[in-house]
């Protein structure tokens, strides 16, 4: 008898919950905000990759005000739980969903196919669908400019670069950096250390220390913590930041400049087009011309006239007069990879697996 009573109460509780849920969904408010879902690989508290994405999200929130409502999910692993997270967002009424890490793409495609009425935006991948786009930025343009600054400030011309993995994205960025450096100092060398991790403060620092021990005096990085830059600054050497403004975090003028993302400049038009029904699927790779990327303020240690030179180069890229991978390119074994007068196609950039002249290290 007692068991039966408990069962009855439980049943009642469950049905009332379901009922309450149903009622809530059945009566949408007339002026309900447009719901946007955002999935982050890490926490925006990482002051790195996801942090910059969240800055974009915040820019969108500021732009649209109470016309949109953002649902954020942090630390979502790149496995089946990503698909669950996206489904939850669809259930919660999200009309457009963003996800910021490469390996989400297969899960996103799967959920996108099941939910044709929702728009999906994937960052850093290549898959698409009539209701799914992918987007990324030409960070190598900023890396070129930071390479110029690095070479200008380095007394020895020996620059170091901490790379996470040998993916085309990292290789391309490093090549951009190297080309910029050698445009200023043709004798500059760029030594690369692979850490085989995107994120590990100790390993990143160890890599930087190894470079500094070799007498390298500028450390650039494609990593997600500030440790490589800190290691350089602690020894009175120079550093180039990435993702967030390291000058803001480390508060030392030896941090010469940071190469940063402007994700909001993609997210805002995308959300806007989703709201008014003009959204179209695309593979977007925006650069300076779209203000997808930018440089942080440059350290006052860098001579003013040289800063002007860097800005002039930036304008040239922004106006489409010139780009990093234009003209003759030799790899670091001396083989000519591109003839003079040629402009590298995006497809080649997206599969880049060789280093330009001046880089010490191997891709593999």
């Amino acid at each position: 008898m007692k068991k039966l009573l408990v069962l009855l109460v439980l049943l009642l509780a469950i049905t009332s919950l379901v009922f309450a849920q149903g009622v809530k969904e059945a009566a949408p408010k007339a002026d309900e905000p447009f719901k946007v879902g955002i999935i982050y690989i890490s926490s925006p508290g990482d002051m790195g990759y996801s942090y910059m994405h969240d800055q974009g999200t915040k820019a969108a929130e500021a732009y649209f005000g109470n016309k949109i409502e953002v649902i954020r999910m942090e630390n979502v692993p790149e496995n089946d739980s990503a698909a669950r997270a996206m489904e939850q967002m669809v259930d919660a009424g999200c009309k457009i969903i963003f996800a910021n890490s490469y390996n989400y793409q297969d899960y996103m495609l799967q959920v996108a196919k099941e939910n044709p009425e929702v728009y999906f935006e994937h960052c850093s991948g290549y898959l698409d669908n009539p209701n799914m786009s992918n987007y990324f930025g030409r960070m190598y343009q900023m890396r070129y400019l930071s390479g110029m600054i690095a070479a200008k400030m380095s007394p020895t011309g020996k620059l170091g670069y901490i790379g996470a993995f040998n993916t085309p994205e990292v290789v391309r960025g490093l090549n951009g950096f190297a080309l910029g450096a050698r445009a200023v100092n043709p004798k500059a060398t760029i030594t690369v250390v692979w850490t085989n991790t995107w994120y590990d403060p100790s390993l990143e620092r160890q890599g930087a220390v190894a470079l500094l021990n070799q007498g390298i005096d500028v450390i650039a990085q494609h990593q997600d913590t500030t440790e490589p830059a800190k290691a350089a600054v602690e020894r009175g050497k120079y550093a180039i930041g990435y993702n967030a403004d390291f000058r803001d975090i480390i508060k030392d003028d030896h941090v010469l400049v940071s190469t940063m993302w402007n994700w909001g400049n993609y997210m805002i038009p995308s959300i806007e087009s989703a709201m008014n029904g003009t959204w179209k699927s695309q593979s977007y790779w925006g650069g300076l011309e779209d203000d997808m990327i930018h440089l942080s303020p440059i350290s006052p240690l860098v001579p003013k006239d040289f800063q002007a030179k860097v800005m002039a180069k930036q304008d040239e890229i922004a106006q489409g007069k010139w780009d990093v991978f234009w003209g003759e390119l030799k790899d670091n074994t001396g083989v000519i990879r591109q003839k003079a007068g040629e402009k590298m196609a995006d497809a080649k950039m997206l599969t880049m697996d060789w280093f330009v002249e001046g880089v010490i290290g191997t891709v593999k």
Binding site: S42, S43, G45, D46, M47, N75, G160, T191, V192, V193, W194, T195, N196, T197, Y199, D200, P201, S202, L203, R205, Q206, G207, V209, A210, L211, N213, Q214, I216, T225, T226, E227, K230, A244, I249, I250, K251, I360, G361, T362, K364
Partner: protein
């Protein structure tokens, strides 16, 4: 070349300090027969609380103290589960790691100053445990690297021999080993097995907390989510490598840390890598396999001189048959 090795050793020691503390802690714990797989979570909580405290108080030593207390507290939970509740030690340890990792990341976004949106990431300490060089001694080629280290490392120079002496030459150490080898016999001798296991599991946790603090207050002075990067797991392997002997705790640290530093240094020196870096990155684990195999063979010849404590991982109750 001399200089290359000295510098290599210097960074190995700097990074290895954290590992060595945690390894010593885990040895104390395992010697009493308690396996604590919660080291990763415990180290992270130590790193977090040390950094948060040092940031708030401006005092590094208070940071260390709080890290030790936190580490001890987390391991106390493990001791309660394993000793009093006699739960599966592996499951309990894994739970401690998951709990500690999650809690540390949660608190990392709550314990910071309001000016940084209560986030600890991106904050800097006004001071850290800096290297203190001993004149003359630091000039010795290669070995000089041992005399230009932080206070936390110097402390280890005393702690390691002390731990060895304590473990093998005192009656306290004898009691620990008895409990780990044969809790039944130890109990019959009048040693309180649960009390000892509680005590040394907690002490082990305090060491792990200290190990975490070495990272956030000295080596990489900052707070980053998951900043231990799996060091708590390497510790478990290092204990095996040290054959549960605190005197040897440092050898594994030097070998493991040395390989990592070496592969970076070779890359930085522009040496053409014959072995892919990915391979070098997991080679420490390969060495663990090797060590385990060699130890098994040696144990057969030398009657278990290098064996794990016989009662490791088992629970004990006085009324057990």
């Amino acid at each position: 070349m001399m200089d290359f090795i000295t510098k290599l050793l210097a960074v190995t020691i700097a990074m290895g300090t954290s590992l060595t503390y945690a390894t010593l802690g885990e040895i104390y714990t395992e010697k009493t027969g308690v396996l604590n797989l919660g080291m990763e979570g415990t180290m992270l909580m130590g790193a977090l609380t040390a950094f948060a405290t040092a940031l708030a108080t401006g005092n590094l030593y208070v940071g260390l103290l709080v890290a030790m207390l936190t580490g001890g507290l987390l391991s106390l939970i493990h001791a309660f589960l394993c000793v009093t509740m006699r739960a599966n030690q592996v499951v309990s340890g894994l739970a401690i790691t998951m709990f500690g990792t999650g809690l540390a990341n949660f608190l990392g976004q709550r314990l910071g100053p309001a000016s940084n949106h209560y986030n600890l990431v991106g904050m800097n300490l006004s001071s850290r445990f800096e290297n203190i060089a001993i004149p003359v001694l630091k000039e010795i080629p290669i070995l000089g690297a041992f005399f230009d280290v932080s206070l936390l490392t110097y402390a280890l120079y005393l702690l390691i021999p002390f731990s060895w002496f304590f473990m093998y030459k005192t009656k306290f150490g004898l009691a620990i080993r008895a409990v780990g080898e044969s809790p039944r016999t130890a109990s019959a001798m009048g040693i309180s097995v649960p009390r000892l296991r509680y005590l040394y599991t907690t002490i082990g946790g305090m060491f792990a907390g200290l190990g975490g603090a070495c990272l956030s207050l000295s080596f990489t002075p900052s707070w980053n989510d998951g900043m231990t990067g799996g060091k708590g797991w390497i510790v478990i392997a290092l204990v095996i490598f040290a054959t549960w002997n605190p005197g040897k705790a440092v050898i594994g640290t030097l070998v493991f840390g040395g390989i990592t530093s070496l592969q970076f240094s070779l890359q930085a020196a522009g040496v053409k890598m014959v072995i892919p870096t990915q391979f070098l990155a997991f080679s420490p684990y390969l060495i663990t396999f090797l060590t385990l195999s060699i130890m098994t063979i040696l144990n057969q010849n030398r009657k278990g001189a290098y064996a794990a404590p016989a009662a490791l991982g088992t629970s004990f109750a006085i009324d057990d048959k």
